[in-house]
């Protein structure tokens, strides 16, 4: 999404929040709670995880308001905090969910029940967590592969290959067309 808060208003709210005005902090929260929660839902496994990321993100925002460089987008700054918080959960949980390339691209695994045609929401949810994170950060949020690599602690080429693999899966699951 683009920043819904004009820069002048963002600067004013941040200044008030830094001075301890909780009404201004709440206004910031209300402005960005849905985009942060949506991003967190796309990058985590469950609604509960996404709620935790939402809370952790805004507590970090409260602590770090002085670090926002007022010439940049406030949403861009908050979004990066949210993405970091969500992706940190992978590291904490030590998830190792990168499936072997060959069996993934060769078709459904043994015993895997895949409908002939899925809608986009279902297909996205079916992607492995990190693949989904790469797709979302790159295709929706507009992060570059370099930025994704830095956020995820991976290489740029790894981000590129993950994006290609994820799109290959989506192509198989969605069929020729796309249903939103």
């Amino acid at each position: 999404m683009t920043d819904t808060l004009p820069l002048a208003e963002a600067k004013s709210l941040v200044a008030r929040a830094r001075a301890g005005d909780f009404a201004a902090l709440e206004r910031l929260y209300r402005t960005y709670e849905r985009p942060v929660y949506t991003l967190a839902r796309r990058l985590t496994k469950s609604a509960e995880d996404a709620e935790d990321v939402l809370q952790e993100t805004f507590l970090e925002v409260c602590r770090s308001l002085r670090q926002w460089r007022a010439e940049g987008s406030l949403w861009g700054w908050i979004r990066t905090i949210a993405a970091s918080k969500a992706l940190m959960r992978y590291r904490r949980e030590k998830l190792r969910e990168w499936e072997p390339l060959e069996e993934e691209l060769g078709g459904a695994g043994v015993g895997e029940d895949v409908p002939l045609r899925m809608d986009l929401e279902a297909a996205l949810a079916r992607l492995p967590e990190r693949s989904r994170a790469v797709v979302w950060l790159h295709d929706v949020e507009g992060y570059t592969h370099e930025e994704i690599a830095e956020l995820m602690g991976m290489t740029t080429s790894f981000s590129k290959s993950q994006l290609a693999r994820a799109h290959e899966r989506l192509r198989r699951w969605l069929g020729a067309g796309v249903e939103a």
Binding site: M1, K11, S12, L13, A15, R16, A17, R18, A19, G20, D21, F22, A23, A24, L25, E26, Y29, R30, E33, R34, P35, Y37, T38, R41, A47, A50, E51, L54, Q55, F58, L59, C62, R63, L120, E121, L124, V135, W136, D139, V140, K160, S161, L163, A164, R165, H167, E168, L170, R171, L174, A176, G177, V178, A180
Partner: protein, 195 residues
């Protein structure tokens, strides 16, 4: 002679993102299969961006606000502890000065410290954390608090004070002035024209 292969997923995605190689660009212009795949990739991206946003199932603001207020109170406590340390440095300075004979800045220093302590008491009594501020006033408060933090950092630097003992009284004067300005801002919400 052109290569007899289609573009890979990575090559077509790079082209979609405006970073494709000259080969894939040329290839797609002549290959209906790859052109269709490129179109599909663009379509998927558009549809992803059009997916609806989620709303959190519960209002998390009360929890966040409570935690943020607690953190702020803890920071205030550690800030006060820093002031105690600064005062200790000054007391130590007094002892050194008294042992080395009377110094003209003694009176000025104790006066500035007393003014600062009195002004801080007034400021705390206003409960600044509980006050709603306009954007302009908040900017002034932030500016004053930043400058206050710089003064406190200087007061907590014993090496700098040993190098220039006369500066300590000046720092405490500045501190009293900044606290006085903060009191004015919180009391009157008046526009601050700068110290």
């Amino acid at each position: 002679m052109s290569e007899q292969r289609h573009g890979t997923g990575e090559e077509l995605l790079a082209l979609r993102d405006g970073e494709g190689s000259a080969w894939v660009r040329e290839h797609v212009s002549a290959c209906a299969v790859c052109a269709a795949e490129l179109e599909r990739l663009e379509q998927v991206r558009s549809q992803l961006r059009a997916l609806p946003v989620f709303a959190p199932p519960r209002d998390r603001w009360p929890v966040i606000e409570q935690a943020a207020r607690q953190e702020r109170r803890r920071r205030r406590v550690s800030w006060s502890a820093g002031l105690v340390a600064a005062a200790a440095v000054v007391v130590l300075g007094f002892v050194v000065l008294r042992h080395s004979g009377p110094a003209p800045q003694d009176t000025a220093l104790s006066q500035a410290m007393a003014e600062s302590a009195a002004m801080e008491q007034v400021f705390r009594s206003l409960q600044p954390d509980e006050r709603a501020l306009t954007g302009k006033t908040a900017g002034v408060v932030v500016d004053l608090e930043d400058r206050l933090a710089q003064v406190d950092a200087a007061l907590n630097d014993p090496a700098a004070q040993r190098a220039d003992p006369g500066r300590v009284a000046e720092l405490w004067k500045q501190r009293a002035g900044l606290l006085s300005a903060l009191v004015d801002v919180h009391e009157t919400r008046a526009t601050y024209a700068g110290l």
